[in-house]
């Protein structure tokens, strides 16, 4: 991961010892031990596939309206039915995956980098850095998070980038606190002292000794907040912030369909809602699986 430039090729850290099983057999074992993890990985593959190839495999143009076919329930042609403008809901749900997934990935990556770095620095060095990061996290936590996200998007402007930033900001305390706690307990560990004796500077210690060891817990955190990020993005769109119609997006689709539920056209809101639920469910389950997979202690 963070190898120094001076490492000779001969020393490249090999991923596993000869006697230990490879990542594949390890993964198979983890899934056999906990089939729910297998289900989560399956769903995850499905979501990634939809995000990558959704626009290509969608049977209809998600934006093309066809008033003759408006408000039709699920049929063999329109699997999820059509909306008030006659757009194919299945195609829209499929195409929306890419946007929602991108927002989630980007915001989680952003907060992982910023929150994680702030947290490990605070936990490792302590002192004023710790106080500063702690107070920032406290301030963010003092707001109702969704309202804070609304405020940020409203203030910065209605765009996908700003949704990503807002989602990252409200998740910051979670990352900063987990990273801080993990770095703090490892600060005095024997291997950190040993590396200090080897002449490593404090920043190198942080990056080569502490960070790799808190990766498992951060990966779990990422997977959990991924679901939350999708929900947050959809929620913002639902109330009319962020992504705007006619762009296919799960939150907008649920919002649009909500008014039709009373009159019996349940499928307009139901299927995007179902997609949203499956995505969040999948990421939450994935957390445990990811931890099992990358923890070296489990690979015996």
């Amino acid at each position: 991961m963070s190898e120094s430039s001076g490492v000779q090729p001969a020393l490249r850290v090999r991923q596993q010892a000869p006697s230990s099983p490879g990542l594949w057999t390890h993964g198979v074992h983890i899934i056999a031990e906990n089939p729910v993890t297998g289900l989560a990985f399956g769903l995850f593959t499905l979501i990634v596939f939809a995000a990558l190839f959704g626009p290509m495999i969608a049977p209809f143009d998600p934006l093309a309206s066809n008033t003759a076919e408006a408000l039709k329930g699920p049929t063999r042609v329109h699997w999820f039915g059509t909306d008030q403008l006659g757009r194919d809901i299945f195609s829209r749900v499929l195409v929306a995956t890419r946007l929602d997934f991108t927002i989630a990935i980007a915001s989680v990556a952003l907060v992982f980098f910023l929150g994680g770095l702030a947290g490990v620095t605070a936990g490792y060095f302590g002192g004023w850095v710790d106080k500063l990061v702690g107070r920032i996290a406290d301030t963010i936590m003092a707001f109702p998070l969704f309202v804070l996200a609304m405020g940020i998007v409203a203030a910065l402007g209605n765009s996908v980038t700003n949704i990503i930033i807002a989602t990252a900001i409200i998740n910051f305390p979670l990352y900063a606190r987990v990273a801080r706690a993990e770095a703090n307990v490892r600060r005095e560990a024997g291997f950190v002292q040993a590396a200090r004796l080897a002449g490593n500077s404090e920043w190198r210690l942080l990056l080569t000794q502490i960070v790799p060891n808190i990766m498992p817990i951060m990966a779990v955190q990422m997977s959990l907040t991924m679901g939350y990020a999708i929900l947050n993005a959809a929620g913002l769109s639902f109330i009319g912030l962020g992504v705007r119609p006619p762009t296919p997006e799960w939150g907008i689709m649920v919002a649009e369909g909500a008014s039709f539920i009373v009159s019996g056209e349940w499928w307009i809101a139901f299927f995007p809602g179902l997609a949203l639920m499956i995505a969040v469910f999948c990421f939450n389950l994935l957390g445990d699986g990811v931890r099992d997979l990358i923890d070296p202690q489990r690979r015996t």
Partner: protein, 566 residues
Amino acid sequence: MIPSPLLAIRNLTVEFATRRGTVTAVKAIDIDVGKGETVAIVGESGSGKSVTSYALMRILDRAGRIASGSMIFSGLELARMPETEMRNLRGRELSMIFQNPRAALNPIRKIGHQIEDVLRQHALVGATQAQQKAIEALANVRIARPEERYHAYPFELSGGMCQRVVIALALACRPQLLIADEPTTGLDVTTQKAVMDLVSELTRERAMSSILITHDLGLAAAYADRVVVMEKGDVVETADANTIFRTPLHAYTRKLMRATPRPGCQLRDLLPEETISPVPSPVANQPSKQQHAPILRVENLIKEYPKAKSAGGLLSLLGGKSEEPFRAVNAISFCVGRGESVGLVGESGCGKSTTSLMVTRLIDATSGRIEFDGTDLTQIPARQFAASPFRARIQMVFQDPTDSLNPRFTAARAIADPLLRFPRLKPGESIRQRCEKLAGQVGLPLDLLDRFPHQLSGGQKARVGIARAIALEPDLIILDEPTAALDVSVQAIVLNLLQDLKQKLGMSYLFVSHDLHVVGLMCDRLIVMRGGEIVEQGNSADILANPRHEYTQALIAAIPAPPASR
């Protein structure tokens, strides 16, 4: 023997289900414990001694199960007893003392209440007498002022005190059989003596039977009537405590006895007979023993900590609030000669670890000088010491080989870590080749270099730690209890390895330890510390033979008599 023993274990086999299939931890063993008898189960890690006791209490973890055999305890079959009945027996008839007393006590409950819990669980007392009974139980384990201590929380008590509370808990219901699983591991040697004397006195008083599980042959010899030696899940020898050490029959018992450090033996005597190699000749330019030019000279070294952090609740309660900082190390002076081994001995809290951290320049001293090869190192702040060329010349081997290796680095990467910062390679030599050479020097098989720490045994991890420490060919190595976490046979090998490396590479050692015998074997000179001060220093053979200071005398007297000297 006794006609009908209190406990008869017959053919007991315990299996664990793991990813690699079933592992048999205990293989068809037979053990008898008579009424009023103390039986010691001795063995190294992985011998199955703890598993046997867990099976007996029926507290094996989920993966473990009693595959076959029987355990008859005063007429009751424990191996197939339903859990509800077993729960009734635990604590009342059979009870257990665990290794880490602090972990065995609930940290947020007053110790008096914890004892009451046990008494009430077995309906031995009503609510009214409970407090009085609990205080009585505390008084029985010789805790001074039991009425006050009744209200103490575990964190307010020292390790030895906590172990007394655990013993009080175990004995509260007057059980017939007490199982003590390494009851004194982690305690100081004088505390160990006090705790063990207490256990043996109490069990004798109440005519109880006890099982003492230990890796320490000396402890077993001193306190047990009979000794059972276990190796890899088998009982290899069972005999009277007096005879087993005089005439050990099994090869494994003999190996264990050889490996136990004892007065009057040499380092090479610890190794099994067939593997002894000649002592390597010292390097040519090493000065003779008389004229050690000092490599390290410590003068008036002081380390103070602010009181709030160092003093526990009880201390500040007793002493009242004072603003004076706590002195962990109080003006000590000593020197280490080139090529010399100096032992730093003392009990926990004596300041020996703080001293070693200051000498390795991991923490700053409050005042005083640390002169290394003529330069005062206290001038360089600890934070900047990593960049100093002196960093490569002072290295350390840590106490816990597991904790001191990054779980995400392979052995090779761990050994290479210092070499990446201070590349001292010969022309044309790659870091990998250097690692392999170092692995060869410490006797680590090359195919283990690509393994992660959790795939290595304790001894192998210790070798990785040593290889890392010698990678930069330092002048001074601080050994911080390097063998405290190792089995005696592994300890014997590691100590010999360290000695050979010192001879070959001409290094100096500062050997920090609580074990006087080990230090006596390794070191030319000895420094005894207590409460941050040096109470005695001098030639190690002289100090061990005629200790002057009463504290040194107490330390030596507290070491349980090793078997050979009985």
